[in-house]
Amino acid sequence: VGKAATTEPTSQGLLVRDDRRKSVVARGRWLKEAPVAWILIVPVLILFGIAVVFPLFDTIRLSFFDIKGMAPPKYVGFGNYVKLFVDPAFRRTLTTTLVFTIGTTVIAVGVGWVVAMLCAFAPRRTLPFRVMIFSAFGISEAVTGYMWISMLRPDSGGLVNSVIRLFGLPDFAQPWLGDPNTALWALIVAASWGAAGLPLMLCFASVQSIPRSILEAAYMDGARPASIMRHIMAPLSLPGVRVATFITLLNALRAFDVIYVLTGGGPVRSTETVGYFMYRESMTQFKLGYGAAATVILLIAVLIVSVPAIIQRTAGAK
């Protein structure tokens, strides 16, 4: 437009003048509207700066200091990070975080996806069941933790052990949260229970958006429900499944409440994730610099998961 506007009068002179006029009008409108836009966005920017940007940069700054109680902070450079990676407890924490995150995501998204595809065969008749499963998503993680404590009680009072004994299998009853071999899996089940509602709704919306003509064609060809699920619904609902996986993955990576309530990172630190490690080091051991370094590692992990997903999701946006 700019180049066309500076050319000498041509046979298309009228068109060039019109382009220049449009450009001037657009610029004038932008100048007129810009202050309003800034007035509207500044309060949000200030709040965002106070609540997110400042704590983020302060945490990164703290991670370069050795802070012990009331003693003056000592600059140690990358010392905290080096110490973290030679600390066997932190290395075990990374493995636990990986197992917990993948386990929770696979179970929550898997259940949500399968149930969503099944619900698509009878959307109205399964509505109460979808509400029942989604209701777990509305409960806070702390309350979820307390619910599962009473479910997994080691004595005969725990519902899980009671049911196992009811089926005549007393040898399988055990202290699910007290045994290092089962505690993490019990935690994954509890976290997945609370997390499956959102993937269910996202996948169901994705399955519902499949063109009706495709399902009609499959039905006319005599495809059975299992084949329709496997060959039509599953591949065509993948965009929704990707969003559900991304959200569940991030939530699992940052999980804290359910771990704090159910196991407190135990027994023998077998359920300690990076989020819980960060809390333990900062708030109970008062090693603020060391805890901040763990926070930065968690932040990097979250960014590694989220940035490619955000780029992919917004690539086509204008």
């Binding site: 259940v111 149930v115 099944l118 619900c119 698509a120 065969f121 009878a122 959307p123 008749r125 399964t126 109460p128 069941f129 979808r130 029942m132 499963i133 209701s135 777990a136 409960i139 309350v143 979820t144 619910m147 599962w148 009473s150 479910m151 009680r153 004595d155 005969s156 009072g157 725990g158 519902l159 009671s162 049911v163 009811l166 229970w193 499956a196 009706r212 399902l215 009609e216 039905y219 429900p225």
Partner: protein
Amino acid sequence: MIGRAPRWVVFTVGAIAFIWIIPIIGVIVTSVRPTEDTILGALTT
């Protein structure tokens, strides 16, 4: 969906939903039971 949905689909989803709601039912039942019964556990009277 096209045609009538198979009955097993509704039963399967229903079964999963009932398993899913058990912890919430547990909390509701616990909230109305006397404390001394609650301490004994879920399937005790």
